[in-house]
Amino acid sequence: MKFALFLGCNIPARLTQYESSSRAVLERLGVELVEIKEFNCCGYPLRNIDFKASILASARNLALAEKENLNMAVLCKCGFGMLKHADYLMKEDSSLLKEINTTLKEEGIEYKGGIEIRHLLSVLYHDVGIDTIKEKITRPFKDLKIATHYGCHALRPSEVVKFDDPVNPTLFDNLVSLTGAESIDWEKRLDCCGAPLFGVNDDLSMDLTEKKLLDAKQSGADFLCDACSYCHIQFDTVQSMINSKGGKNHALPPILYPQLLGLSLGIDGDTLGLGENKIDITSIEGFLSE
């Protein structure tokens, strides 16, 4: 099993633990990752400004992966959504594909539409498979309650991303349950984390984050689990900004899914970069069975 690992812009710059933990987990599960240095922005942050620019940026990544004849494993959900969107639209609209390819051909690449774009969670769930992972779990969690955060751009628009049932998804919950933790039910589990508006309308963005965390906490969660760079930075870095303003009723530490899975696979916390999270999550190791 071999994938081109797509990291996007945020992970190498400010969320390196997401890369290191994902690599550690996937290596343990026998997934080979290829690094394509030429990958660029997924296009997501540009969509507000110029649709074609965002599609072009996305398509260049797709073409680069296709050139290596590799499917893509994407860690960020916004990146995943954008790449899927570009792929979908270019398959729907041949004139768009042709126009994009005219530009790409100037640097000797072209997108033909022959690759799969997978989010890390889909790779684990569909490609590696629940049973394979289950066999490798050596230290399951006990009495740990997790609020599982799906992330908008993985779920919706469902006809484009085809990640899971958009109304009642179970994929991520099943992956969390695998580790021995309990994935609790909570009202706002499918809501947005607030990150898309951070930097644009901070009050609204932080308000959404705070409400979401509060709901998770009141539903009994010990930790929140996510698998997206924007969501995680929002729940981690932005949450600590909210916390420092006072009032911590909502305070809930977030953990990246590969960190959670990695611990239950017996990988040590340093390799998984637990210490790199802004909000301390090392207490989660206390929930591991001996």
């Binding site: 945020n10 660029n40 110029d50 620019a53 628009p157 930097g199 609204l204």
Partner: protein, 583 residues
């Protein structure tokens, strides 16, 4: 005399230029904080910083950086081995030429008492170093003008650098070739060192030997020669010449050049071509020296300084005065090599958004102009700001910069500085602002919100209807242009299916965040769909809802009519931005 005068003039210009540049490093303002720090304070802080660093453990870091990043240039090697080889050839061989050949009176003669430029190993080494520089120049020309890596730009300064180097090297080689073949020089030297005059038998013998073995071109003495004559010539040669002359063939470039111009050598001699070449050679060197502080060759000084400074400074702990000085210096440390641009995360979009300032290698040049020039046309200024903001802050430019420039910090500080001019920048209303949000604690509260408000106000000001909510809107004729323009993604045209059921609005988490959403957001999602359907441009563009949309796709997912609500909002944002730019 002419040589000395031109040398001193160019040296003087070089020194004055350097002092001017240092003054610029102490006065240029790239950060908002720097506005309040006088140059004198920056000078004292810089001196203090340097002294404190040198007498601390950080000296070890500096030594490491000096060897790995400055001498070996590992960052260039990691990125591109071809470019690394090119640069190593040029800079190592040129420095060796400078020390051994150009400064031979001061260095080589002092180190080797028997030094003579025409004696081995110096004769051979001079050509070897010259050959390496020329190979490097050819590789640079190949990369810049034939290979032309995607999106790497070549500006006049890059071309100048290659041309001046090429002139220095080629004139040097031609000069060497001309001197090897020159009979006039030969004749004078024989008179001076062997005491022989033209016409004497011994002179003829020596000439025969030199014509046969050293490539000298004589007007009357030509091959074939008798063995006895060569034998006699050799004897005189060993007595009078060999102390300073190794075989000319060791000059493995100059000698073939002499051979190639064999037929013209006597004419060249009469015309004094070697004197002309000598003038070209040293004048090119002096022009290069005088112009160095104003050309990209300044990087010989600034790039190492930037690498060293960045290795021991950090944003949190360093003196703001020193950060300001370092950033001003960094603007001059760029070699325009293009490493940043070739790794830029958004470089590709220049094919769609034609703004050269998206590319980091061009952005830094423009920002230098922004800092240096007092007045700039609004249009030019805004194009630079726009290019500077079209950046995902992925840090890759900074990671690969072989001059160690902290580009990301420079972009950030310069953008904040440029926002002070109060021109609206519309890209702030996109997730590109995420990084700025994360940095908000480093920005003054009033400065933080300003660009966001400015951009929204500028867009809303184009929408008269939004400003006068009581105005009766005429629905006919519909704005066909607006309706027709929503086809960018071939999905937005689904807005026509909207029958106003308000499901989108009811599921919108942004709408749900406010007690009175209409007051804050202007129009609600279903109203915007309807406005788009009716072609009421002002209502569709002017609402805050557009910019407060999370793009969470709840509305689109739930729409019973299959309207691509989020995609329509995306397209309206694109069009709104395009609209304000058009004006």
């Amino acid at each position: 005399m002419f040589y000395d005068i031109s040398l001193y003039i160019s040296l003087a210009i070089f020194i004055i230029g350097l002092i001017y540049k240092i003054c610029r490093w102490l006065s240029r303002k790239t950060t908002l904080e720097a506005k309040d720090i006088p140059a004198s304070k920056r000078l004292s802080s810089a001196i203090k910083g340097i002294v404190v660093t040198i007498f601390s453990l950080k000296i070890l870091t500096l030594i490491k950086v000096f060897f790995l990043d400055i001498i070996i240039q590992r960052k260039v090697l990691q990125e591109d081995s071809f470019r690394w080889l090119t640069h190593i050839f040029i800079y190592v061989a040129f420095i060796l030429l400078l020390l051994m050949h150009a400064l031979d009176k001061f260095i080589t003669s002092a180190l080797f008492s028997s030094y003579s430029a025409t004696l081995n190993p110096f004769l051979f080494l001079r050509d070897l170093f010259g050959a390496l520089v020329i190979i490097g120049i050819c590789m640079a020309i190949y990369r810049r003008f034939i290979l032309k890596p995607t999106r790497i730009k070549t500006n006049p300064m890059d071309t100048y650098a290659i041309i001046i180097l090429a002139i220095i090297m080629l004139s040097g080689i031609l000069l060497e070739g001309a001197k090897i073949g020159s009979y006039a020089i030969y004749k004078n030297m024989v008179t001076d060192y062997a005491g022989l005059e033209e016409g004497e038998e011994d002179f003829k013998a020596l000439t025969a030997f030199w014509v046969a073995k050293f490539g000298t071109i004589s007007p009357d003495i030509k091959a074939p020669f008798k063995d006895e004559m060569l034998e006699a010539g050799k004897e005189i040669h060993e007595m009078s010449c060999s102390g300073c002359h190794s075989r000319a063939q060791w000059a493995f470039i100059g000698y073939p050049v002499a051979k190639a111009f064999k037929g013209a050598a006597l004419t060249f001699d009469k015309a004094g071509v070697h004197t002309l070449l000598l003038y070209i050679h040293f004048l090119a060197c002096f022009i290069g020296l005088a112009y160095l502080p104003f050309s990209k060759f300044l990087h010989i000084i600034t790039s190492p300084l930037s690498l060293l400074a960045n290795s021991v400074m950090d944003k949190e702990k360093s003196d703001p005065a020193n950060i300001a000085t370092r950033q001003a210096l960094e603007l001059d440390a760029c070699t325009h090599c293009g490493a940043c641009t070739s790794r830029c995360s958004v470089g590709i979009i220049i094919e769609q958004i034609e703004n050269i300032n998206i590319l980091p290698s061009e952005k830094i040049q423009s920002l230098k102009a922004v800092v240096s020039r007092k007045e700039m046309e609004e249009k030019d200024f805004r194009i630079i700001l726009d290019g500077a903001y079209l950046c995902t802050n992925c840090h890759r430019c900074t990671d690969v910069c072989p001059a160690g420039i902290n580009l990301e910090e420079l972009w950030f500080n310069m953008r904040e500085d440029m926002f002070q001019k109060d021109y609206p920048e519309f890209s702030v209303l996109s997730p590109l602002s995420f990084y700025r949000g994360l940095m908000r604690e480093t920005i003054e509260q009033k400065d933080y919100k300003k660009p966001l408000n400015l951009a929204r106000e500028a867009i809303a000001s184009k929408c008269d209807l939004m400003k006068t909510p009581d105005k009766v809107v005429s629905l006919t004729p519909a704005d066909k242009e607006l309706q027709g323009s929503l086809v960018l993604s071939d999905q937005a045209s689904t807005f026509q299916g909207c029958f106003g059921c308000q499901t989108c609005t009811n599921v919108c988490p942004v709408v749900a965040s406010y007690e009175n959403p209409k007051e804050v957001l202007g129009m609600l999602p279903h109203q915007i769909m309807y406005a788009a359907g009716l072609g009421v441009r002002d209502l569709a563009f002017g609402s805050n809802m557009l910019w407060d949309c999370l793009t969470c796709y709840q509305c689109q997912e739930q729409c019973p009519q299959g309207v691509h609500v989020t995609d329509v909002l995306y397209e309206l944002k694109n069009l709104a931005i395009r609209n304000v730019y058009k004006d």
